[in-house]
Amino acid sequence: MNEIINLSRRDFLKTGAFLGGGLILGFTIPFQGSPTHASTGSPPPFTPNAFIRIGTDDTVTIIVNKSEMGQGVYTSLPMLVAEELEVDWSRVRIEAAPVDPAYNHTQWGVQGTGGSTSVRTSWDQLLKAGATARVMLIAAGAATWGVEPATCRAEKGSVIHETTKRRLSYGELAERAARLAPPADVPLKPPQAYTLIGKPMKRLDTPEKINGKALFGLDVRVPGMLTAVVARPPVFGATVRSVNDVKAKAVPGVKGVARIDSGVAVVADHFWAAKGGRDALEVVWDEGPLATLDSKSQREEYAKLAGKQGVIAARRGDVEGALAAAAKRIEAIYEVPYLAHAPMEPLNCVAHVRADGCDIWTGTQMQTGDRDAAARLTGLPPDKVKLHTMLLGGGFGRRAVGDAHFVREAVQVSMAVKAPVKVVWTREDDIRGGYYRPVVYNLIRAGLGDDGMPVAWHHRIVGQSILIGTPFQGGMKDGLDPTQVEGAADSPYEVPNFLVDYHMAPAGVPVLWWRSVGHTFTAFVKEGFIDELAHLAGKDPYQYRRQLLAKHPRQRALLDLVAAKAGWGKRSAPDRFQGIAVHESFGSFVAQVAEVSVNPAGLVRVHRVVCAIDCGRIVNPDTIAAQMESGIVFGLTAALYGEITFREGRVEQSNFHDYEILRINEMPKVEVHIMPSQEPSGGVGEPGVPPIAPAVANAVYTATGKRIRRLPMRPGELRRA
């Protein structure tokens, strides 16, 4: 196991503060190697590229440009570098990258983490980074000995001269290697020579996460720091009419009250005083047009929109003609609610704005946008704004916002009180803070031919756009938000007459990507409805899918694997029933079989989930298994409990008693099977989520004869009469 630096928090923070504007708190993973790494001011001897730093003391630091939010990038990305670097894995330590174009996402052009893209878009970049450094270290060793580089090799952090067995460590070669020019082109290992990639390596961040040392955004403390809790509008879009802060200011520890764009901030010595002050604040709001927002009437509004044709997302053949001629027809409404991400760590941000610069410490998935927003607010040039990426206590998309709202807020409070400030969102603030997965109303129709196979498929989607009005709006095409039709418009099922159209519902409630984005509901609709068709045709749902996926061998193979592993068609107990689903998302394919029972009160219990994933070439199989387990729990929470509703403009839920999260006693036994593949890598953070809701709903149908078309599942509708 990698050694943990026993660096006291106090020393650590002192260092960070004294360097004010330095990069220290961003680099707060005091993992392995030299205990002085947090305070080194001297330039590193060998930095062949932005991702690697090798010290004369043999420390190997890998700089990670993706945010660690549980998905394992602080292990999987260093594995890619280390594979080619030929370094002793037990000596690798990690730093979070600062904001710099060198760390931009290879496809997005800005720095950020999301879309289950980290491994698949970094693969070549990081292998080359490691290989370049290795070639330079070998050249330095060869030059030292006066031999040909071809006669030397690298192994576990040393360069070895083959014939004489002479050996120099990377640390010993660092200064010499630093004087060499990086080679333009470097040879990469053939996959069969990999020693790390494909192996279940232990996560590097585990030790810190089990001894209290890991620093999340909420754990940042800088000298002189105050804490703020903000009174935000009770209705989205409301504005402050008047504030009476007399009682708030009377709370011991409260230092001040500041009006900011998002509301009214109460600033205090510590959280408890700030929260007490916020609760004592009397704010009168102009509630604005959303003051009457009501989930029931919104549902009726969406239903009305579904009566008209929307923007076409995909079309083949003649759906209406085929429906008219079909042997059997079926039509259904599928609905999903707003969902909060509810990461265990509520949102927070520390900002320290000074005349000459600004430091920001937060867990974010969008570094460049957040940094730039802070620069605009402060009037500082972007290079004077240092954003330090902390560990994220869950992300799920919530910390990837286009408007940088939680960063801007902290910057404004710091500017108002002229001190470093930590803005803390309470759980209630977080649940009621918007940026939800949108409500989606789906009208879906199909027609079957004489053979029971579908001849027509029409899916109409009504929901808010995630992209419109954001910096990501460029992704829209002709009024179509691709994130709201993904997984539907590109359905792999072979249906000759096919139509998917989309209605953009009125904006207002802030909406955002929520782990697996559009696939959260398109998989539920597609996989639920195809199950309906199979039953209508009197066919086995597994075989029915299989037949419609003849041109999709990867999905077909997954269905076969998951059916075999789950013992499809064989019930393990008289009260247990199976459901199956398969879905492609983020470049990967996942199939799941859920084994479910439904008690007389209508409570759904998921006992077992067999999951198979084909995500192409893999880096860390244990991470993949963990992400499948995680996605299943995340999706199951949404299927069984998740729902944000509005009444009189206000969010009705507030905390975990009315926005429930799956608990350990409800955890199914999850088995994960990874399909061996040499296809290009796909994502793993999100693809485990989409299939679970339909797999469970399909099992519930076999158990009860009742088709779940609206999430979350409602026990009252499943109760045995």
Binding site: M1, I4, R9, R10, E68, M69, G70, Q71, G72, K202, R203, D205, T206, P207, K209, I210, N211, G212, K213, A214, F216, L218, D219, R221, T227, P252, H270, F271, W272, A342, P343, M344, E345, P346, L391, L392, G393, G394, G395, F396, V424, R427, D622, A626, E629, S630, G631, I632, V633, F634, N655, F656, H657, I661, L662, R663, I664, N665, M667, V670
Partner: protein, 156 residues
């Protein structure tokens, strides 16, 4: 001014008596390993041991624990040597890691009272600690593993 005994050391703290222990630990003593998740004893991220019992520090006034032995995640061991920590590493439990302090402290309280918990015992003791990343299967496995290793070694 009150004196709190945390991880074997005494600290004099000047906080209003109703201040929850969680915020005294985090904001006054700088022991940020104990986490805030809900403020209503609904998620368990703030779980610490008070005289050996698992307690939700977010709803426990500091004044209520004066004179009692408080153990936080920082005091579970000094070197990752606690059987639960070893098992957590072996099973690769944490993902984002935010809830894991609470998970470990709740598990530690469980094992103090029950040296060989069944799955039902684990459910009862651990169902109050939420994990949004869904690490439950590994938590269960790690608790069983910790039990197995301590029983083999004859230690408690």
């Amino acid at each position: 001014m009150a004196t709190l005994k945390v991880n074997g050391k005494e600290f004099k703290v000047d906080v209003s008596p109703e201040t929850p222990l969680l915020w005294v630990l985090r904001d006054t003593l700088g022991l940020t390993g104990t986490k805030y998740g809900c403020g209503m004893a609904l998620c368990g991220a703030c779980t610490v041991l008070v005289d050996g019992e698992a307690v939700r520090s977010c709803v426990t006034p500091a004044s209520a624990v004066v004179g009692m032995e408080i153990v936080t995640i920082e005091g579970l061991s000094t070197n990752l040597s606690h059987p639960l920590q070893k098992a957590w590493i072996a099973e690769e439990v944490p993902q984002c890691g935010y809830c894991q302090s609470g998970q470990l402290m709740a598990a530690a309280a469980l094992l103090r009272k029950n040296r060989k918990p069944t799955d039902a015992d684990i459910d009862a003791a651990m169902s109050g600690i939420l994990c949004r990343c869904g690490t439950y299967q590994r938590i269960r496995g790690a608790i069983h593993r910790a039990v197995a290793t301590t029983t083999q070694g004859g230690a408690s």
